[in-house]
C-alpha cells in the first residue's frame, strides 16, 4: 500500500510501487489531464508537481511519491491556475492541446519562482516541453500575460 496526497486528497493505493506515477494518476485515479508523450522524460506532457516541484511522472515511480503531495493539472491551485488559464484562453494558445497540461504545469512552476520572467527565462523553463503543433510563440506571450495577471491579482 502506498499513501500519498493527490490534489489535496489523501489516497491509499494498492499498486506496484515501481509503477510510474503517470499511470497511477491516469489509470488508477482517472485523472487523464496528465498525458503520456514519450515515457522517458523527453517531452514534458506528463509533468506534475511533487511537493511543489516539477517532475516527469512518466519516469517517477510511485514509491517516490510515498507520503508526499502530488498536484496534477486538475488540482493546480487557483492562484496559478486562474491567471495561466485566462492567459492561455486570451492568447488562444492550444492547437491540438495534447501537450498543454504539461506546458501549463511547467509554466506554473516558473511563475511561482519568478514573478516577471523574460523570454530567456521562459525558454529555459519550458525547454523540456515539446509542442508539435508549434504553439511556442503563444506560450511565450501567454506566460508574460499570466505573470501580469498574477501580479495584478495580488
Amino acid at each position: 500500500m502506498t499513501k500519498l496526497r493527490v490534489n489535496g486528497k489523501d489516497v491509499t493505493l494498492d499498486v506496484s510501487p515501481d509503477t510510474p506515477l503517470l499511470w497511477v494518476v491516469r489509470e488508477t485515479l482517472g485523472l487523464t489531464g496528465t498525458k503520456f508523450g514519450c515515457g522517458m522524460a523527453q517531452c514534458g506532457a506528463c509533468l506534475v508537481h511533487l511537493d511543489g516541484e516539477a517532475v516527469r511522472s512518466c519516469v517517477t515511480p510511485l514509491s517516490r511519491a510515498e507520503g508526499r503531495s502530488v498536484t496534477t493539472i486538475e488540482g493546480l491551485e487557483p492562484s496559478l491556475a486562474d491567471p495561466l488559464r485566462q492567459a492561455w484562453i486570451l492568447e488562444d494558445v492550444p492547437q491540438c492541446g495534447y501537450c498543454q497540461s504539461g506546458q501549463i504545469m511547467a509554466a506554473a512552476i516558473l511563475l511561482k519562482e519568478n514573478g516577471k520572467p523574460d523570454d530567456g527565462d521562459i525558454d529555459d523553463a519550458m525547454a523540456g516541453n515539446i509542442c508539435r503543433c508549434g504553439t511556442y510563440p503563444r506560450i511565450r506571450r501567454a506566460i508574460h500575460m499570466a505573470a501580469e495577471l498574477k501580479a495584478g491579482g495580488k
Partner: protein, 718 residues
Amino acid sequence: MSGILNLSRRGFLKAGALAGGGLVLGFRLAGTARAQEPAAAVFAPNAFLRIGDDGRVTVIANHSEMGQGIYTSLPMLLAEELDADWARVRVEPAPVDPAYNHTAFGIQMTGGSTTTWSEWERFRRCGATARAMLVAAAAAAWSVEPATCRTEKGEVIHDASGQRASYGSLAEPASKLDPPADVKLKDPKDFTLIGTPVKRLDTPDKTNGKAIFGIDVTLPDMLVAVIARPPVFGGKLKSFDATRATAVPGVRHVVEIDRGVAVVADGFWQAKLGRDALDLTWDEGPLATLDTATQGEAYAAQAATPGAVARNDGDAAAALAGAARTLEAVYELPYLAHATMEPMNAVADVRQDGCDVWVGTQFQTGDRAAAAAAAGLDPANVNLHTTLLGGGFGRRAVIDAHFVREAVLVSKAVKKPVKVIWTREDDVRGGFYRPRAYHALKGGLDEKGDPVAWQQRIVCQSFIAGTPFEGFIIKNGIDGTAVEGADDLPYGIPNLRVEWHQAPGGVPTLWWRSVGHSHTAFAVESFLDELAHAGGKDPLAFRLELLGDNARHKRVLQAAAETGGWGEPIGPGRARGLAVHASFGSFIAQVAEVSVGEDGEIRVHRVSCAIDCGPVVNPDTIRAQMEGAVAFGLSAALHSEITFKDGRVKQRNFHDYKVLRIQEMPEVDVTVIQSTDSMGGVGEPGVPPVAPAVGNAIFQLTGKRLRSLPFRAEELKR
C-alpha cells in the same frame, strides 16, 4: 447537391438524439441508399445543427479537430448565417454516416487542408435555412410577414410591434415546418463573425485537463494492450513464448494478431512490462538488410535513368545542351515520422452483436469499415466515436486502419473493451513515414542569366499505389502525391521536364503535413535560388520576373519581402532567404532570417510569412497555423530524420528523433492577404517554404549550399 431535410419531423427527436425537443436540421446527400430509409436516420443523426429549447446551439462537426481549429471555424460558418448568439454555440463530433461525407471526396474524413473550403457553402446554407425556419415560426405566431422580421444574437425581432422571441422558444414550432427550398446567403460585407478573430471553442477544456483524446477514453472493465510488432517492416512472427509475459502481475492475456503479439493487462505499465518479457522469434523478411546509405545509392541509380513523365514543356534536353551555362544538383530528404504528441491508440469494445470504437481519427469511413470487417460485423452495428486528436498531420488518416484494427482484433479475442496504446518507440519505429525523396535537378541559363531549361527527376515511394485511392490519384503512371509542387512549377521556364521514379516499397509511408510539397518545395525553391545566384540575380527579382502572370504568388512574395525586410541592411552574421510555394489552394511566401554559430549551429531568428488563402474565416486560426507550420517545417529542416541499419529504424524517441523546442522557435510574423480569390487551405501549406527559405538564407550567409535535410551543423563549422 445536398437536399435539406427537417429531421425533427421524422421521428428523429423521439429517438433520443434530442430529448429536450427542438429543431434538428441537416443535409442528406441525394441518391444515397439511406435517403430512402427514414428509419435509418433515427440511428444516424444526419444533422449539422441542433437548437435546444434552452436556446443552446449545437453544431455537429463532421471534420476532426486535430489542432487546426476546425471545431471553431465550422461553427462560425453556420452561426454566421444563423445569427446565433455565439456565447450559446457549442460543438460536438459527428457520428459516422454518409450524410457527413466530405463534399469533394465522398467519404467522411479530414485532410488535405480542405475542410473550410469544402464546407464553406454547406455549413452556411444550413445556418441560413435554420434561420429562415425560426423566422417563419415567429412570424406565424405574431401573424406578421416573415420579411418584416430580423434576427440578431439568437433572437427573432419584429421591430414594428416590438416583439422578440429567442431561438430556444422557437425551436419546437420551427421543428414542425418544412425547410425553405432555397435561402439567400449573406453578402460577405454583412458578416459579423466570419473574418473576425473569434476565440476557439475548444481552448478552455484544453487548459484544465478536461479535453478527451482517444488515449483518455476509459470504459468499465477495460483492459490495456501493448503490442509487439515486427522489428523489421514486412517481418512475420515465427513463434513466441509468453511464459514470462503472463507471469507479470496484471497481465491477463497474450494474444497473437496479424500485426504482432498483444499483451493485455489491467493497465499500460503491466502490459508494457509483459511485452518486454515476451520471447519472440521473427522471420525478418526481405527488408532485414535495409540500410539508409545503400538505399540512397539505389535511389541515385534510379535517378540516372529516365522516369515516368509528369510534365514536359518544350525540349529540356535540347535546351540544356544549348544553354550558356548549366547547373546540376541533387537534393535529398529523409523519411520522417509525424510524431504526434499523442501516440497512436484506439479503444474498441467488440460484443457479439455490435462494436464501439473510440479513436482520434482523420478517416472515419475507412476506419469503421475496417473495424466492422475485423470484428466480423455489419458496419451498421459498429459505432465509431471520434475523439479529439492529439495531433494528426496525416498520421491519423491511415488507409489500412491499422491502429483501429489492432484494438478491434484484441478486443474481439479477449471479449472485453480494450485500449491499445503505442509507446513513443512504437510510434517512431512504426512506419507510415513521409517518403524518403531524391531529386536530381539540371538547370540551364542563357547568356543573360535567364533560365531556359529545367529538368527534375524525383525518386520516392508511392503510398497510393495498390490502395483504393490509386484510381483517383495515380494518372498516367504518375502518383500526384509524389510530384505535386514540382509538376506545377509556376515559373516561366520554356523547357521544363519533370519525371518520377517509384522507389521500391516495403517501408510503410504516408501523407505527412503538406505531403509531396514537403519535399518538392525544398528541391524546387532551393534550386531556383541556385539558378538566381548563378545568373547573378537577386532571388526576389528573379522570382518575380519568372512568375509572370501568377499574381497570387507575386502578391505574397512581395508582402513577405516587405515585412521580412528583404534588401534592407541586416546585422552582422545574419542573412535572409526566401521561398514561395503554392499548395492546397493557398499561396505562401516566407522570408527567414538566420545566423550560424562557430560550431555550425543554425539559428533561425525570424520568419516573415505572407499567405493568400482567399476569403478568411478566422484570421487568428490562420496565424496559428502559419506559426505552427514554421515550427513543423523547422523540425524537418534542422533535426528530424528516420534512418535504417540492418533493417531496423535507428531512432527511438524524442532524444534521437529530435523536433523543435521553444528555445529554437523564431519570431513569426504573419501577413494575411485580403483576398476574394478562390479559397484554399491553411493546415499544411505553411510547411513547404520553411526549409528552402532557411537553406537559401544559409547560402546567402555562408556561401554553402546545403542540399540534404536535415541541415547538418558539421557542414557549416568554421
